[in-house]
Amino acid sequence: MFVLKLVLKNALRHKLRMVLTILGVAIAVTAFGFIRTILTAWSAGVEASATDRMITRHAVSFIFPLPLAYRDQIATIPGVESVSFANWFGGIYKDPADPNNFFPRFGVDVETYLDIYPEFILPADDRRAFIAERSACIVGEKLARQHNLQRGDLIPLEGDIYPGKWEFVVRGIYRGKDPSVDETQMLFHWKYLDERITELQPSRSGDVGWYIFRVSDPSEMPRIARAIDDRFFNSRASTKTETEKEFQQSFVSMSSAILSSLEAVSVIIVGIILLVLANTIVMSARERRREYAVLKTLGFRPFHITGLIGGESLLIAVFGGGLGLALTFPLSQAFSQVFATLFPVFRVEVETVALASLVAFVAGLAAALVPTIRTLRMRIAEGLRAIG
């Protein structure tokens, strides 16, 4: 109890220094939390994958289409439940230089797609209106907010993969079942896409981007993947079938170099936290050499000295870490509002909070290490003689 009181008194002796150190640690912890949040946001798609969904795409690359005829063949594989499909539309919305004008646009098989994605919650009226109209589309709530879209609004797109001018009417706005669901997508009728492209470029009629289906038993997934890929192996378009998670992961790992640089930066931040903290602790310990010598003379044990120095370090680390974490939330919030569609799901995860707390705590211990050892080794006479 006595040590605790002394720790507090010690910490408050240089109020300005204390405040500055807490601020320094807080800012570094904020940066740490923010970067970890970017990292988790990057792989949000992987986390949000359902465990019972699989995706079949062209074996050579995702950009090559598969024939529509594969749908029925995939459906006959034992273990495969409902099959749906989608195409990546691409296209340009408004000014392409603004990254917020980029959001995923899929031509989907409207009858089946929403059944496979139960996490997209669409009001029954919207659903009916969407299915009834060929040029209708639905958008996620976050996307609708971002671009101020309402039911009945037109979304004009300039096609690139599918040339020409396109217009879609918003007939519904979906919500995600939980915060991990991407609410920035735009879905429309694959049939509409197919009809127009058939007119323009008959060779591309019936092109499907990828098939997505549910399986009855997730443990059967490897067998199903093999069965499908074997069936199409010698066809014109051979396939690659994988779990939705693997499919999403393949997109994340494309930028693995960027992700590892961010990881490296987050490690450097830990170094900075340590430096700021260690600086203060070393400084204080140096200034108080004489006091510690007196304490030793009075019979205080190494345990007490360790508690004094370590306690002060931990105190600063805990306050700085807490403040830093508290700041991470508004910063992430602001970031996710500015770049709403770039990172569809951007939130501070529990693991991030835990990791940042751990980092602050360990830094608090580590910063006290050298000054504590030094003080413990110091001979009393030497300490008594020390000046400032």
């Binding site: 220094r17 693995s256 430096l275 200034e287």
Partner: protein, 389 residues
């Protein structure tokens, strides 16, 4: 009267541990700051150097990259006859109509899938790109299912050695040569005969057309000619360098924005670190300051001395940070460029303006971090300063 610099220097030296810790903080911040700028510059320069100043690239209007562009045979035949295009010795237009396709290959290190560009080229492709030269093996033969690989592909991906075969499209392709793209985006591509590619992928159209201008000034005139002809009006002409710069834009901006946000946060941390150190320096030397004032040094001299100490500290940190960052020029990163959805290898590029920016950044931190403590030192009252212990 000025306080000599050696005073400042010795003050820093006396408190070595603290000095080193503060220095370390500034070094790390400057390192990250410089490295981020270098990386963004690396992406830009890789792509900008991919374009040649006299070359023009044609893609379909509204296509943001070759990947989503289509140009039909008829249009290419028309464009080929335009007089602004340079001619080769045998009198044909110096032009290459190309296909641009992406295939997946597994990376050597991580086994992750990378998006690799397969470029179907015409016979003038090499002549159009002065940076590209064959380094090993031989050129692919037109009319055969052969490809040559860029140096980065061979380095980074599995199964891309000479003599090995790749299966994509409707065919099996033999790798017969390796080319160096001189650090450009071509290093991350595979090249083969455009006719073979079209046949194998069942796509009778081209993705892009690249040609050399006979006169660099005739760019506007051919651009107009193409957009006015009803048969080619859906095609957009761009100087090759500009085109590639646009491809790098998003990625470079992304890296830069992310980096700046992070370093600004960092720098506040480092500044606070410097401030703590300087405040402590002032507090510890109160008697010393009082003595100096008593000896006749002015307030202003004291202010300068402490400010110089802080600036010196941050300057050293800045230099160390830049030195550390310059070591990263040996690292090459290969990742998917968001703009083109394809693999791109690039490095950290250091330039004088980045060095300047990093040093200015460091010194600014020193000034901001040292100013308040220096003011406190300068405002100390002589009597109380001398009396304090």
């Amino acid at each position: 009267m000025k306080i000599p610099l050696s005073y400042t220097w010795r003050s820093l030296w006396t408190r070595r541990t603290t000095t080193l810790l503060t220095l370390g903080g500034v070094t790390l911040v400057v390192f990250v700051f410089a490295a981020v700028l270098m990386l963004a510059r690396g992406v830009e320069s890789t792509l900008v150097e991919t374009g040649s100043p006299d070359n023009v690239i044609l893609v379909r209007r509204a296509a943001t990259s070759e990947l989503v562009s289509q140009i039909d045979r008829e249009a290419v035949a028309i464009i080929r006859t335009h007089p602004e295009i340079a001619q080769t010795a045998d009198g044909t237009a110096l032009l290459s109509a190309e296909t641009y396709i992406i295939i997946n290959l597994a990376k050597k290190e991580t086994n992750d899938m990378g998006n690799v560009v397969v470029r179907g080229v015409s016979s003038h492709a090499m002549e159009l790109r002065a940076q590209v030269r064959l380094a090993e093996g031989r050129m692919f033969e037109f009319g055969k299912q052969e490809v040559i690989v860029g140096s980065n592909i061979r380095e980074q991906f599995q199964g891309a050695e000479l003599g090995q075969t790749l299966r994509f499209g409707d065919a099996t392709w033999t790798i017969v040569g390796m080319f160096e793209g001189g650090g450009t985006a071509f290093d991350s591509e595979l090249w083969g005969d455009v006719e073979q590619m079209q046949a194998a992928f069942g796509r009778p159209v081209f993705s892009s057309v690249t040609f050399r201008l006979a006169e660099p000034e005739s760019y506007e005139s051919i651009k107009q000619r193409i957009s006015e002809d009803p048969r080619t009006q859906a095609i957009d002409a761009k100087r090759e360098q500009l085109y590639y710069q646009e491809q790098s834009q998003f990625m470079a901006d992304f890296i830069r924005a992310m980096g700046i946000v992070v370093t600004v946060i960092f720098s506040i941390g480092a500044m606070i670190g410097a401030m703590i150190t300087m405040y402590a320096a002032v507090a510890n030397r109160t008697v010393e300051i009082g003595t100096m004032r008593a000896l006749g040094f002015r307030r202003r001299s004291i202010l300068y001395a402490f400010l110089v100490e802080s600036i010196l500290l941050s300057l050293l940190g800045g230099i160390a940070g830049v030195a550390l960052a310059s070591a990263t020029t040996f690292i090459r990163i290969s990742t998917v460029n968001f703009g083109t959805f394809s693999e791109l290898a690039f490095g950290f590029v250091l330039s004088p303006d980045i060095i300047t920016a990093a040093i200015v950044f460091a010194v600014t931190m020193g000034v901001l971090g040292g100013f308040l403590p220096a003011v406190r030192a300068a405002r100390l009252n002589i009597i109380t300063a001398l009396r304090s212990s």
